[in-house]
C-alpha cells in the first residue's frame, strides 16, 4: 500500500509563492483538493507527479524521496494533467499503445490493457479514429484511459471532469470509486459535487496553503451556524446579494429566497440551516466572505 508524505513543500515562481509550506500525509483513499483558481492546486499536483521540483521541502513515497525513486515512482503513477496533451494525428488505440510502452506496461499485456481501458471509457468504437476528430469530452475520457493504463497505485487527476457531460461525470465518479481500493487517488477540482460524491478526504486550498481538511461531514461541520436562509423583498435581496456570499437564490412571486453565508446572523429573521459543501466552498473562497469578516470586524 503506497504512502505519500509532503514535508513543508513550497514552490515559488519569482515573487509569487504558489504553494506555501504544505505538509500532508496521504494513504489509501480518494483525496479531493478544492480551491479557487490560482490557489495552488495544480502546482501542488505537478510537484506530486515530479513535473515541478519544489523550491523547498520534500515529497516522500513509502519513506523515500520521489526524486531518488525516479523511474520506480513514475511506474506507480497515473496522471491526467489539466491541459491534457495528445498527438492529434494518432488514433486512440495507437496513442494508448504508445503511452503503454512509455509506461513500461509488459508487452504481452499491452493489447488487453488498451482494449480494457477503451471499453472502460466508452471509446472502444472510436479506437481507430484519429484524436483530432474527437470532441472535448472524448479527449477527456481518453485522458482518463491513459492515466489508468499502468494500473497505478497513485493516481493524480487535475480537473478530471472538466468538459464531461452529466452522464459521463456520473460514470467517472463510479469508476473512481471502484478503482480506489488499495490506491491513493488525488483529484483537484472546483466542481464541488465531484468531491462531495467520491472524496474520502477533502482538502481546502487557498493562497497555496491547506486551510481545511477532513471528511465531507467534518468540513461541512466547520461552517455550521454560518449558513442562513432568509426570505427578502427583491430590493433587499439585491442589497444582501452585494453584501454577503450567497450560495442560493430562488425567485418566487414577490419575494426572493436567499441562502447566505455569514459568521453572524446577517439580518433579522434569517434562520440558520444545515450547511452543504457548496456553502463551505463559498465560505472559504468567496471574496464576499472576507468582506463579511471585515464588516464584522468593523473595518469595512
Amino acid at each position: 500500500m503506497p504512502e505519500l508524505r509532503l514535508d513543508r513543500v513550497t514552490k515559488q515562481f519569482k515573487n509569487k509563492i504558489a504553494v506555501d509550506e504544505v505538509s500532508l500525509s496521504l494513504k489509501e483513499g480518494v483525496y479531493g483538493f478544492l480551491g479557487a483558481n490560482g490557489s495552488g492546486k495544480t502546482t501542488l499536483l505537478r510537484m506530486l507527479c515530479g513535473v515541478l521540483r519544489p523550491t523547498s521541502g520534500e515529497i516522500f513515497c513509502n519513506g523515500m524521496e520521489i526524486g531518488r525513486l525516479d523511474g520506480e515512482y513514475r511506474c506507480m503513477l497515473g496522471y491526467l494533467p489539466q491541459d491534457f496533451g495528445y498527438y492529434p494525428d494518432f488514433t486512440a488505440k495507437r496513442y494508448l499503445e504508445y503511452l503503454a510502452a512509455c509506461k513500461a506496461v509488459p508487452k504481452d499485456l499491452v493489447h488487453d490493457k488498451v482494449q480494457e481501458m477503451l471499453r472502460f471509457t466508452g471509446l472502444e468504437g472510436e479506437q481507430k479514429s484519429k484524436i483530432k476528430t474527437f470532441s472535448g469530452g472524448m479527449i477527456r475520457r481518453l485522458g482518463i484511459a491513459q492515466a489508468l493504463l499502468n494500473d497505478p497505485e497513485i493516481l493524480v487527476l487535475d480537473e478530471p471532469t472538466a468538459g464531461l457531460d452529466p452522464k459521463e461525470r456520473i460514470r467517472f465518479r463510479n469508476m473512481i470509486s471502484t478503482f480506489s481500493k488499495g490506491r491513493i487517488i488525488i483529484l483537484s477540482t472546483h466542481i464541488v459535487s465531484d468531491v462531495d460524491f467520491i472524496a474520502d478526504q477533502i482538502l481546502l486550498m487557498k493562497q497555496g496553503r491547506i486551510v481545511g481538511q477532513g471528511t465531507c461531514g467534518e468540513v461541512t461541520e466547520s461552517v455550521r451556524g454560518r449558513v442562513w436562509e432568509y426570505v427578502a423583498e427583491p430590493e433587499e435581496a439585491q442589497r444582501l446579494n452585494k453584501k454577503f456570499a450567497v450560495s442560493g437564490l430562488r425567485n418566487e412571486t414577490g419575494s426572493v429566497h436567499l441562502r447566505l453565508i455569514a459568521n453572524e446572523c446577517p439580518c433579522e429573521g434569517a434562520l440558520p440551516v444545515e450547511p452543504g459543501l457548496e456553502d463551505v466552498y463559498l465560505y472559504y473562497f468567496e471574496e464576499a466572505s472576507e468582506y463579511v469578516q471585515d464588516l464584522e470586524r468593523g473595518n469595512a
Partner: protein, 247 residues
C-alpha cells in the same frame, strides 16, 4: 540415507497447504513492475514515429547524396559547392530535430515527464537519432564533396562543421527558450535564418581561402563548446519543470 531420514521433521500437510495458500495470495496481490532496458526504450520510442518521419529522414540522406554528387561534378567551383552543401546541412539539421520538437508540441511534455520513459530520456533518444542522421549527412557531404575539393577533405569538413554546429545550437536554444515556437512556422523561420547565415561566407571573397582556415577551426571549437553547454543545459531545464509546464 536412513540416518538422514531420521532427522527429518514431520510435515503437517494441512498447515503446509494453508501456508502455501497464504503465500500464493500474497504473491497474487503483489504488483510486479517491469523496468525495460535502454535498448528496449530506444526501440519503443522509435517504433511509434510516423512513416512520414522516417521517409523524411531517408529523404534527407538521399538528398545529401544528390547534393554531394552534383557538387563533385562541378570541379573547380569550390565556393559554390561549399555554399550549397552548407545550406543543405543547415536544413537537414532543422528537419532532423523536428522529432525532438514534436515532444514539446500539443501540451505533451507535461504528461511525458510523468511516464517511466520520461521527457528527458525521450529527448536523449530522439537527439541521438537526429545526431545519427545529421552525422550521416555530414559524412556524405564531406566524403563525396571533400574528395573533389581543392581544399582537401579535412578543410572541407571544417567548412561543413561550422554551419552544422551553430545551426544546431540555435535550434536547440529555440526549443527551450521560446517553448512552442520551434514547430511549424517557427521551425521554418529558424531554418531560413540559419540557411541565410550559412550562405553568408560565400559572399566574402576570401572566406574559403587557406588563410582563413584557422578562423573556421576556431569557430568549430567554439561551436562544439556552445553545443556541449546547450546539451547539458536542456535536461536541467526540464528537471526544474517550469519549462515543461508552460509548453
Amino acid at each position: 540415507m536412513d540416518s538422514k531420514m531420521k532427522w527429518r521433521f514431520p510435515v503437517d500437510e494441512r498447515r503446509k497447504a494453508a501456508c502455501m495458500r497464504e503465500i500464493r495470495l500474497q504473491v497474487e496481490e503483489k504488483r510486479f513492475r517491469r523496468y525495460p532496458s535502454f535498448a528496449e526504450n530506444v526501440w519503443n520510442e522509435l517504433r511509434f514515429q510516423s512513416p512520414w518521419h522516417w521517409a523524411l529522414q531517408g529523404g534527407v540522406l538521399f538528398a545529401a547524396l544528390l547534393v554531394a554528387v552534383w557538387g563533385s561534378r562541378r570541379a573547380g567551383t569550390d565556393s559554390v559547392n561549399i555554399a550549397a552543401s552548407s545550406v543543405f546541412i543547415v536544413f537537414a539539421g532543422n528537419i532532423c530535430l523536428s522529432g525532438v520538437a514534436r515532444l514539446f508540441s500539443w501540451h505533451m511534455a507535461e504528461l511525458e515527464q510523468t511516464l517511466y520513459l520520461n521527457l528527458k530520456q525521450m529527448i536523449c533518444i530522439r537527439m541521438l537519432e537526429a545526431g545519427v542522421v545529421d552525422s550521416g549527412v555530414l559524412a556524405i557531404l564531406t566524403g563525396v564533396g571533400g574528395g573533389c575539393s581543392v581544399s582537401g577533405t579535412g578543410v572541407y569538413f571544417l567548412y561543413m562543421l561550422v554551419p552544422f554546429l551553430w545551426s544546431d545550437v540555435l535550434y536547440l536554444y529555440m526549443l527551450t527558450a521560446f517553448r512552442n515556437l520551434f514547430s511549424g512556422f517557427g521551425q521554418t523561420a529558424a531554418g531560413v535564418i540559419c540557411g541565410l547565415l550559412a550562405l553568408f561566407p560565400a559572399f566574402l571573397e576570401k572566406a574559403y581561402q587557406p588563410d582563413y582556415v584557422p578562423v573556421w577551426a576556431a569557430l568549430s571549437v567554439a561551436g562544439i563548446l556552445v553545443l556541449g553547454v546547450e546539451l547539458y543545459r536542456i535536461p536541467g531545464k526540464i528537471e526544474r519543470g517550469e519549462h515543461v509546464c508552460l509548453n
